[in-house]
Subunit: 404 residues, 2 copies
Amino acid sequence: MSKIIVQKFGGTSVGSVERIDAVAEIIKNASKSNYIIVVVSAMGGETNKLIKLSKHFSEDPDKREFDALVSTGETVSSALLAMALHSKGIKAKSYSASQIAMKTTNTFSKAKILDVNAKKILEVVKDNTIPIITGFQGITEGGDVTTLGRGGSDTTAVAIAAQVGALRCDIYTDVDGIFTTDPKIVSNAKKLDSITMEEMLELAGQGAKVMQTRAVEFANKYNVPVRVLSSFNEGNGTLITLKDESMENALVSGIAFQKDQIKFTLHGVGDVPGTAFRILGPISDAEVEVDVIVQNVSVDGKTDFTFTVSSEDEDTVKRVLENVKNDISFKELIVDSNIAKVSLVGVGMRSQAGVASKAFKALSENDVNIQIICTSEIKITMVVEKDLVDKTVEVLHKEFELEK
Amino acid sequence: MSKIIVQKFGGTSVGSVERIDAVAEIIKNASKSNYIIVVVSAMGGETNKLIKLSKHFSEDPDKREFDALVSTGETVSSALLAMALHSKGIKAKSYSASQIAMKTTNTFSKAKILDVNAKKILEVVKDNTIPIITGFQGITEGGDVTTLGRGGSDTTAVAIAAQVGALRCDIYTDVDGIFTTDPKIVSNAKKLDSITMEEMLELAGQGAKVMQTRAVEFANKYNVPVRVLSSFNEGNGTLITLKDESMENALVSGIAFQKDQIKFTLHGVGDVPGTAFRILGPISDAEVEVDVIVQNVSVDGKTDFTFTVSSEDEDTVKRVLENVKNDISFKELIVDSNIAKVSLVGVGMRSQAGVASKAFKALSENDVNIQIICTSEIKITMVVEKDLVDKTVEVLHKEFELEK
């Protein structure tokens, strides 16, 4: 029996009726050799249009209603894609989250997938019909509609691929694959044929913007091979491999960067046990993902505690810090939005020393000041001034000869 | 305890975010003296935009997908209206058909309501929260999304009013109430303060366009008082009374007309028992509503069988007649779309003769040729050439002094 492949199409891939026709053609061809399950995002721009409507009533609309509103974009695109397949003689049916029981937590706008009715999906597949499933959407136990957060359709696709035991999950997007860095900034950035899941995790988290971190984590956890490829151009894309299968690893695989970041510094906080938890606990409870965390050396029992979050979480973090102000005494709260992150990623870093110092030397020679440094086994993250991001990426790309 | 009123807002009433604000104000005021349940249509124009998208793929798209697609308009407006109420300090929650188990038949695009979870709706009401329910939508037993056909939101509202035992169902629209005829055609057409359910049934069926026939039938069947009023202007609208409560009835209450009609004539059909059934049975099975039906006097065992349907059903009827051609022998099929219907409606007709002859005389004096005449207890319907509709309505409005 042929195997199942889950194909996910993002917003630009289905951005117009003509694009939906093109996607239907891709699905039709793929369905000749495999069973296909499709996950689809809203037509490009539609979600933003809906968000704009909601902003008329409130800057911070009720999240239950917000999710009910924005999830309609996926319902529209899934029905249209089913129609496009019918017009090509292919049997297909659209399914909303409710219809395939895509159960999630009840954290509106940032819901996490708990379960999905794989049996129902497989019944459709067995009927030689292609299920076109709405990405991004979920439902709570009580039947409320939730959404998985920006880029959530990737997670939907991987979760379904895991549950139905798919051979592979193909993430169709508007880029040809994963590059050593953004080709818009470094013109000779190179497409990678494969990348390890670990490297991809670091790249996605750092804003490579090709695939959502949570989706990569899901793929990693459930051993789902993922391929990232273009729905616009032919090509094999980049395969995200479960294990590191290449004999020799490049020192650095790619450079990621992220501009929509904000830096909070609690100046003069007491350097006592539990401080980090008392600050980050409530922020985590508010479902904000904290990224770089640095605590400087203590002076006179006081220290500076710094962390970065996505710009969109600025108000939430401010509110949380206001609430916990009495628990954590600090002298001053410094908020800096004129920052960005740049990260070098590569499994090769594990075994080879000197990557960090090589990077810092190159940046220093090019007058780039690094505000914060944070390293892990396969990643070096640097926080720099927002205006210096492009330069930083260029310098590092050249230094590590990624164009080769 | 105060009583429940169901308020339904049509597409023009919620046609923009500003209109949604205005509607929220109406709901807020009404909620001071009664419990309110809201039923809402899609924002004006949105459903047509979605239909246009679907037409790219097929002139006759799969109805299951079509319904999934077009039902999203109501989901959008219900969520936005809930947000608008929140901004005014009112507790409200949007509910889709799926969430309140609005069960229907599985006749996509023309589904009929079977049941609704009134208990769930009343639980929301008891929690001092206004439920904002999507009109037009339903779900089948199997969980597929259906729609109730054009104007279906009226039916949703009346069905819910019946199930929750509401005091009244207020249908908010863009007109001030029910008029003796269309004010666009007869400038001194008069607004009626009340009208009987029977008269309204005839008017709605004949295209008064204010409220869907099925909704009036529902209201009639379940004894739900309905009021039609404007969401744009203040005023009490027109109350559709259960019984005829006025002492004296006007001879003619109003004039309705409908231009989007098509006439089918089966010429030379056998005048044998069962002919009408063999023609109309399959048409009814195809969910097409047949309107005026006339069978002419038989000559030599042959007769002419004529009926009118809505223009949108033209293709369906042609297909059905093609299929039954062998069962029913006829000489020729004549299809005429250059027609329209005009109807005089009034409960007073019951007890007073001469309305028909008075109407025919006035029309004859004004050179209007009547192609088909069809009378009932409280209605006289005439089929005329499409171009003569306005003239016919004007002549009759003047003849029966409806401006007074």
